[in-house]
Every structure is written in C-alpha cells, then in structure tokens.
C-alpha cells in the first residue's frame, strides 16, 4: 500500500463524520483499530480474542467459541462500509473488509475531479443577520513540518482576527447528525499553502457558497525564514479587505445574497441589512433607514451585541457626518454606547466609540480615561484603526494621526468619506499651499463638506498638546478661514 497515512486519516475522519458512523462509537473504535493494524505483518491483532479485548471491552477470559460478538460486530462494520461506498462514489480511497477475514483492504480509487471538496449541504438558516464563512485550509504538494506550521499559524491567526469582526459567523466543516455540513454558509474562504524553491506561497480565495467560481484572490510569497509578524500583517490585511464593516469587499455581495430574503420579518436581519447598505453608501437617506431599523431592533433585542455595536457605530457616524436625524444624537449616543458596553465590556471598538463620543461632548477627562483603558489593544481592523486615528487628529496629534490614516488608506486603496475632510483640514493647519486646492477638490468630489464642518466643530486647540506647529492658535479664526476657503 502506498497511501500516506495522512490521506488515510482524512478518509477515516470523513467516514466517521458520515451518518453511518457518527452515532456508533463502537463501530468507529473497531474500524480505527483494524485500520491501524492493517499494515501489521502478523495476524496477532486480527485474532478474535485480541479484537474483543482491545476493542470491544471484553475481559481477559473472553472465549470466541462461546461469544460471537466479534463476528457479529465485524459483520456489521462490513455492511456499513459497503453501504457507505455505495453512496459515496467519489472517494479517493475505499476501505473494505472482505468476507472471511478481519484485515481491511484499502484501495486507492481514481476520481476525475475535485468533486466533494465541500461536503454535501443541509438546510439550516441560523443567524441570517451575520455573514457566515467557512474557512478551509489545504496544502499543495508534499506535506512537511514547515508547511504544517505555516498552515497552523495561518489558521489560528485567521480565526482570531475574524473573531474580532462584528457580524461574521465563522464556521468549521462540522457535520450534523446526517453527516452533512450546514448550508448556512455564504462564502468559503480557501487558504492554500505550498512550498516553493525559495520559500512558501500562501494564497486565499473567496468562493460563494458551494460554487466553484473564485470571487477574490490574494497571493503572497514568503521567504523561508519568514517572520511570524509578516503573517500577522498579511492576515490583518486579508481580513480587513474581505470583512471590515466599512471597506470589506464581501459586504456588498452579502447584501446581494440577502436582498431576496429581506422580507422585514426577521428584525435583526432587516436591521443589519440596512446597516450594511449604509456602509456601502454613506448618504443621509441610507442613514435614516439604518438608524430607524437598527434602533428599533435594539429595542426588541436588548443586549444583542451585534445590533448594539451597529447602533453605537451609527450614532458616531451621525456625529461625524453631521446628519441631522436624531433629536439628541450625542446624549442618546453616549447612553447607548455605554449600554452596549455593559454586554460587551472587552470590546475595544466600542471603547473607541465611547472615547470619541465623550470627546465630542467635551467631556475631555472621560475621553482621555477611556482611551487609557484600551491603549494596550492592538488595532488590527481597518475601521478600528481609522477611528482611533481620527480621534488622535481631533485631539491635536495631527501629524501622527494623518500619517496612520494615509498608511492604511494607501494599503487598501479605499477610504471612507471622512478621510478627504481630515486631509483637507490638515493641509490647512500646516499651511501646505501646494496641496490645499487639490484637497479641496477631493472634499467636493466626495461631498464631505459637512464632515469638514463637523470636524472643525469638534477639534480641540488648547487643551491637548499638538504635534504640529500650527499656523492658527485660535479655533474660531481658523474655522472661519477654512469655511471661507471651502466656499471659494
């Protein structure tokens, strides 16, 4: 037999997952015992007594002449295996137990395609308000310790990073009672690692459900002695690029997927749909819809983390964009963010939102203390980094904040509407004549004049130490100058 034990283990796992085996621990024990010994030269392991004692829990005084349990159980296993391979014709390995012997036969079978990459799907519509993602990992070519390690680092890193994103439900290919994987899967993320002549190649591709068409792809070469931080950065990038609530590419597709099912009956789904609709296109009309539905959903589902976060984010966006929708967005917003934090106390994004909101309401000490509480959190996601940098700017650290924002905007090539506004204020602050007009154009082009006004309103001149030599020291005078320039 030339099969690698790795392939064989995978096959056994697949068998055990099927409905033939999943409720039969005794059958599983028996099969794994037999397969484990099937390369033995001697017949010792296949003696009835050995099987009865080692596998079926009989005591030392077991007598096969008196007790037919081994023959019965092997007969059962033989039938189950035969039925399994009658149903599953596309397996690359076939395990069988010929009549009259206990030693299994393992054969390789030729199959023509990749069929069966995704186990068969069963209906299950759990949590439609989330984006459900199945992550799969594979190695191309020869398996080695180095590749295993790399794949492991990617797998754990990805699950941790995606776990921090709100609204993404991460699934494993865990079968239900019938041995089938739930089909509440919207997208499949397939990560493939392989060894190259001078290092490794890692790639991720996104597929929709069980379709084979690749929607997005990323690929990256790694040196043999790659630093694990390189992987960390790579994964942050992938995760933000695909799943970030503001710039993630999958959300618009998710909206497409949910459009038909959005009957308004499922309140959380309806709310999250409107929320992402607003994220995709941040205008006032979408904001009103999102605000209304999300606030209503939060009322009906108090304590729901996903909805709670969406509403907190909406209040923040209302302030930044200056949408005039809620009666008292600042007061209600702060109240709500605090409420959301009760149920999700460790959420760094919520703390950032609270810090920003309290800053807006000029409770500067509280804002500072909130920031203090999260200073050790690593800011990984796009939105989260962005928000923190915005607050950094408004608190006076313009140079550091703008630099940080420019870096991530550059990395992803996409930016939210607030970016041109900040950039514009910054060049005016440092009086960079060469860029002023270009930046103003950008503000007009992205219709973010109102954001400029909001930022001017919130920014603080005197209370915090600034990291730039500002041309203006008086906020009123500076604001007037900006407005004047903007209107020219």
């Amino acid at each position: 037999m030339t099969l690698s034990s790795y392939e064989l283990t995978k096959e056994i796992d697949y068998l055990f997952a099927s409905h033939f085996f999943c409720n039969k621990p005794q059958m599983r024990r028996l099969l794994s015992y037999l397969v484990r010994h099937c390369e033995d030269d001697s017949e010792v392991a296949f003696d009835q007594r050995a099987i009865a004692i080692e596998c079926l829990g009989r005591s030392d005084d077991f007598d096969p002449a008196e007790n037919p349990v081994v023959r019965i159980e092997i007969g059962r296993l033989r039938r189950i295996l035969n039925r399994f391979y009658e149903e599953e014709v596309s397996r690359s390995i076939r395990i069988s137990i010929p009549l009259g012997q206990y030693r299994p036969v393992i054969e390789e079978q030729f199959i023509d395609s990749d069929r069966g990459y995704l186990p068969e799907l069963a209906a299950n519509d759990a949590k439609p308000e989330c984006l459900s993602l199945l992550v799969q990992f594979a190695t191309q070519g020869e398996e080695s310790a180095a590749l295993y390690l790399l794949r492991h680092q990617m797998r754990i890193g990805l699950t941790i990073d995606i776990g921090k994103i709100h609204g993404v439900r991460l699934l494993v290919a865990l079968p239900n009672e019938e041995g089938k994987v739930g089909d509440s899967i919207d997208f499949v993320m397939r990560v493939v690692v392989s060894a190259t002549g001078n290092g490794f190649q890692v790639s991720s591709s996104i597929l929709q459900g069980d379709a084979e068409q690749v929607l997005f792809e990323h690929s990256e070469a790694l040196a043999v002695d790659y630093d694990h931080q390189v992987i960390g950065r790579l994964l942050h990038h992938w995760v933000s690029d695909y799943f970030d609530p503001q710039v993630g590419q999958l959300w618009s597709l998710w909206l497409e997927l949910r459009r038909g099912s959005d009957s308004g009956e499922n309140i959380p789904l309806h709310a999250m749909f409107q929320y992402h609709q607003f994220q995709a296109q941040a205008n006032k009309q979408n904001f009103e819809k999102a605000m209304f539905t999300v606030a209503d959903a939060v009322k009906r589902h108090p304590g729901d983390r996903l909805l709670g976060f969406a509403l907190a984010d909406l209040y923040y966006r209302e302030m930044i964009h200056g949408f005039d929708v809620s009666q008292e967005p600042l007061r209600d917003g702060i109240r709500h963010v605090r409420e959301a934090l009760r149920f999700d106390p460790g959420n760094a994004s919520l703390h950032t939102l609270l810090a920003s909101m309290t800053f807006f309401s000029k409770e500067y000490d509280i804002a500072r203390m909130e920031l203090e509480a999260i200073k050790d959190c690593d800011d990984t996601g796009y939105s989260f980094s962005f928000q923190r940098a915005v607050l950094q700017c408004l608190m006076g650290e313009w140079q550091a904040g703008i630099k940080r924002i420019a870096l991530i905007v550059d990395q992803f090539g996409r930016f939210p509407a607030i970016y041109p506004a900040l950039e514009y204020i910054y060049v005016l602050l440092v009086n960079d004549q060469s860029a002023i007009d270009r930046c103003r154009e950008k503000v007009r082009q992205h219709h973010c004049e109102s954001v400029v006004h909001q930022c001017l309103h919130f920014m603080e001149f005197s209370r915090f130490k600034s990291d730039i030599a500002m041309v203006a020291v008086d906020k009123e005078a500076f604001s007037a100058r900006v407005r004047q320039h903007l209107e020219q």
Binding site: P25, L149, R342, A373
Partner: protein, 518 residues
C-alpha cells in the same frame, strides 16, 4: 432513603426489564446493593451482611463454606451486562455495573447516554502526525493536565478524546469526533516551531450544533518551558472560557436553554442553567425564579448536591446584590454547608460557602479559616477566587481581598462586570477618582448595584447629568430590594456609607431642582 432522581430512574428501569422481571432474588440483590452503595455503607457490602440481610441466610453464615454471595453476584454481574447490551435499547441515565472483586456497584454514565448532566464538552488534544517526540509529549501532558483541571468543574460533562487517530487537524476534520452529547468541542493543538525554538499552543472552542467557532486563542511556549508557563496557559484558557461566571461556554449554553425554555429540559440540567445564568447576569427576577425552582427541587430531593450548593451560592448574590430573598437564617445555611461537606469533604466550593456563612454570622476567625482552606483546595475556579476575595474585602481585610481579585485579571482581561465592584469601592474610599472611574465604568450586569456604582462614578468625575440618569435607573430597580446604604454589604465601611449617602442626597436635591426648573 431518598435516591437521586436519576439513580432511582435507572434502578426502576432495570427492575422492570424482562431480564429481571421474573427473578425476585436478583431484584432484591440489586436493590440492596444500590441502596448500600448509594449510602456508601461498606459494612453493608460485606459478604456476610449481604447473605444475612438480603439472601436470607442466618447468623451462622460462613463465607468460606457457602459461596452463595459470590455466585449470586456473578449472576447479577452478567445480567446487568446483558441488560446494557440489548438491541434497540434506550439507555437509562446511568450504567450500573458490578466490578469484579467487589460488591460495590459502580455508577457511570453509559457511553450511549445522550443526557448530559450539565454542559457537554469534548476535549481533543492533538499535534501533527509528523510531530517530534517532544512536541507529542507536551501534547500528552497538556491533555492530561487539562483532563484533570476541567474535571473540577461539576457543571460540565467532560469527555476526553484519547483515540490515536485524532492527531491531524485538517478542514475541521477533528470535530467529526464529536457526538450528540457534546455540546461543545475544545480543541487544543500543539505545534512545534523548531526554527524559533518555541511551541505554539492554540485552543479553539466550537459549538457543535451551529458549527460556530466561539473562541480561538494562541500562545507561545518556549522550548525550555517551565511549569509556570504551562500553568499560565491553562489559566488563560480556563478563566475566560469556563470559570469566570462560568465563562463564555457557560453563558452560551445557559442562554440557549433560557431562550428555548427551561421547562423543556430535565430538572437536573435546569439547575445548572439557572445557576450559571445567575452567575452570568444576576437579576432579581432570575434569582426569584431560581429560588422557586430550588425550593421545589430540595423538597423532593433533599440530598441533591447541585441544588443545595446552588442554594448557598445564590445566598452570595442575594447578599452581594442586596436581594434579601432567602428567608433561612444564617445558622441553617451553615448547617447546609456542613451537610454538603459530609459528601464532598475536599470540595473548594463547599469550603468557600462555609466561610461565607461564617462571615454572615460575623465569625470572621472561622470565616477566614474556611476561605483559606477553599483557596488551597481550589485550583481552577476563578469565580470562587473572586467570591473569596470579595468576602475578604467586605470583611474588612481590604488589601488581601483586593489583591486576590486583582490577580484574576492576569488570566482574563475582560472578566464579568461585577468583578470590578470591590475595587471600585476600594478606590472610592481612598478618594482616588481616576481609578474609581476606570473600575466603576467597567461594572456591568450587576443589577441595582451596577446603577448605584455608575451613579457614584459619574458624580465623582463631574458628569452630573449622567449621574442623574443612573440614579433614575437605580430608583426603578431598587424599589423591590432594600435600600443600598443601609444594607449589610458595606457594614464594615461606615465612612464610605456616609460618603455615598452624601452623594445621593446631593443628587436628589439636584434632581428636585431640575424637576421644578422644567
């Protein structure tokens, strides 16, 4: 004698089966052995006692001459085995068997039994097929350590997967090992990174039914790791996932049942659902429901450990959150603890609750002694560390109590909101506004006490309107319980109580003024 519900059910099912129906002698023997095993009465399980009291032999019975007990026991042993090996068999809650060489029955949960007593967890530890000997050893060690540590948690039904083929993690394949009784799968993987000379220890927790990954974490362990490194890894895994207010898993589990309806699950499981949800998010309503449930349960099964322990633990929240629901005197509660201790002499939780009862009785010397014992017995349950620390704090042993509580954040960066309460009072008393604010604003899900603390927090930093907001919420919920400043919780801190009263009075004046102003 009152048997545990499930033992009684099991016994009844066996006795009524066709295998036992026409065998009165076997029936008698089984009943006798169940009873004396249950009572842990080793004298009653001697050959002589069995012969005389159950098999109708007289006082002159001599076991060396008369093999009746051995013969009948062997018959019963076989009969019991065949009972559990029937075709199309619905397994009772327990598997009862008679191990050789003893007349003490063994009760175990049969493999096929799908009814877990609490939350079902499957622990799978693995390392790659190509792993080195040393990595494999580390993996086996982690598996052994965790099997022992996790078994300390009585609310979990732990299964550890020891099968050799579970060594490869691929495409989630390993979760195929999970069965119906496993609500969650905890997978630990040990992978060697020989280039950097470290091991990667990762943990992933999966909810079996929805297939969701609920938790994922990774730690690095140097190749020349110390025991303390490993211990830290365990603590950082167990505290947030399983121990602190019964952790992420407990929360997920109890909430899913509360949503579905507790009336649909068996009582012994419901006891844990209520208990965990009280620890998770204490509310007056929840406490009331739980108390009702417990009283009914204890009436029927006075020896139910879970119910009794739950009753005493509820006492802690009853006191801490000022519910004052429990009518029993402190002496009666202490007696309950002693009864529990009879069955579970080495249980940290029982020692802790005993210490707590002594604290209620104002016997601080005994209280400290028991809290100390609890600390020594308790290896993993950080919720108990918290309760112990708070009792110490409320007792007036402030530094020691706070130190014990603060320690817990090393293992879980975001513990339940009520863990911050003692620290808040600690800083408030010292007039350390900034720290009081930081702790106070992290207090959550602690019912009316939460609103009291938030009121004080915002007042301290001058956020008056928010303080008034919280005061309103406090008044809404506090009507039903006692008033805060007069309660027993802060009895040892008269200055703090004065300060709190002053603040509240001040705010109430503001409230009235703003009311008339509008």
């Amino acid at each position: 004698m009152e048997l545990d519900e499930q033992v009684a059910t099991t016994e009844a099912l066996i006795l009524s089966s066709h295998l036992f129906r026409s065998k009165p002698q076997m029936q008698r023997l089984l009943k006798y052995l169940v009873k004396h095993t249950y009572l842990n009465d080793s004298a009653g399980l001697q050959q002589r006692s069995i012969a005389v009291n159950c098999l109708g032999r007289d006082e002159s019975f001599d076991s060396s001459k008369d093999p009746i007990v051995r013969i009948e026991a062997a018959r019963l042993r076989k009969l019991l085995d065949s009972f559990y090996e029937q075709d199309n068999f619905i397994p009772p809650p327990y598997r009862i068997s008679l191990p050789k060489g003893s007349y003490q029955l063994s009760f175990s949960r049969s493999l096929e039994n799908k009814l877990s007593k609490g939350l079902g967890l499957l622990l799978v530890c693995q390392s790659p097929l190509i792993a080195t000997e040393k990595a494999m050893q580390l993996m086996l060690r982690v598996r052994r350590d965790l099997s022992i540590k996790l078994a300390d948690f009585r609310h979990m039904d732990l299964t550890v997967d020891f099968s050799a083929e579970g060594q490869v993690a691929e495409r989630g394949a390993i979760h195929f090992l999970a069965e119906e009784q496993h609500d969650y799968v905890l997978r630990i993987e040990v992978v060697e990174n020989s280039r950097d000379g470290v091991y990667l220890l990762s943990s992933v927790a999966i909810h079996r039914v929805t297939q969701e990954i609920l938790w994922s974490q990774s730690s690095v362990l140097p190749e020349s790791y110390q025991v303390t490194d490993l211990e830290l890894f365990y603590k950082r895994l167990i505290s947030p996932l399983i121990a602190d207010a019964y952790g992420l898993l407990g929360k997920h589990w109890s909430q899913s049942y509360l949503k579905k309806g507790v009336e649909f699950i068996p009582d012994h499981q419901a006891a844990y659902v209520y208990y965990i949800s009280i620890c998770n998010e204490p509310t007056l309503d929840g406490a009331r429901q739980y108390l009702d449930f417990l009283e009914g349960r204890l009436e029927r099964f006075p020896a139910d450990y879970v119910a009794k322990a739950g009753y005493i633990s509820l006492g802690f929240f009853d006191f801490f959150l000022n519910y004052n629901l429990i009518q029993d005197t402190y002496e009666i509660r202490l007696r309950h603890c002693y009864e529990l201790a009879k069955y579970y002499p080495n249980d940290a939780g029982v020692a802790l609750l005993t210490g707590f009862c002594y604290f209620l009785l104002d016997d601080y010397v005994q209280a400290k002694r028991y809290l100390d014992t609890a600390k020594k017995l308790n290896r993993e349950n950080t919720l108990w560390d918290f309760i112990g620390g708070s009792v110490l704090y409320f007792m007036g042993e402030t530094e020691q109590g706070i130190k014990q509580i603060r320690q817990l954040r090393k293992y879980n960066p975001s513990p339940p909101g009520y863990y911050f309460i003692p620290e808040f009072f600690y800083y408030l008393e010292r007039g350390d506004t900034e720290n009081a604010f930081i702790k106070g604003s992290r207090v959550s899900v602690a019912d009316s006490l939460e609103h009291l603390i938030k009121t004080l927090t915002y007042f301290e930093v001058g956020a008056k309107s928010q303080a008034l907001d919280e005061l309103k919420r406090l008044d809404q919920v506090v009507d039903e319980t006692g008033s805060w400043p007069e309660c027993k919780v802060l009895a040892n801190f008269p200055e703090l109580v004065t300060k709190i009263n002053r603040t509240l009075k001040h705010l109430r004046r503001l409230e009235i003024n703003s009311g008339t102003g509008a």
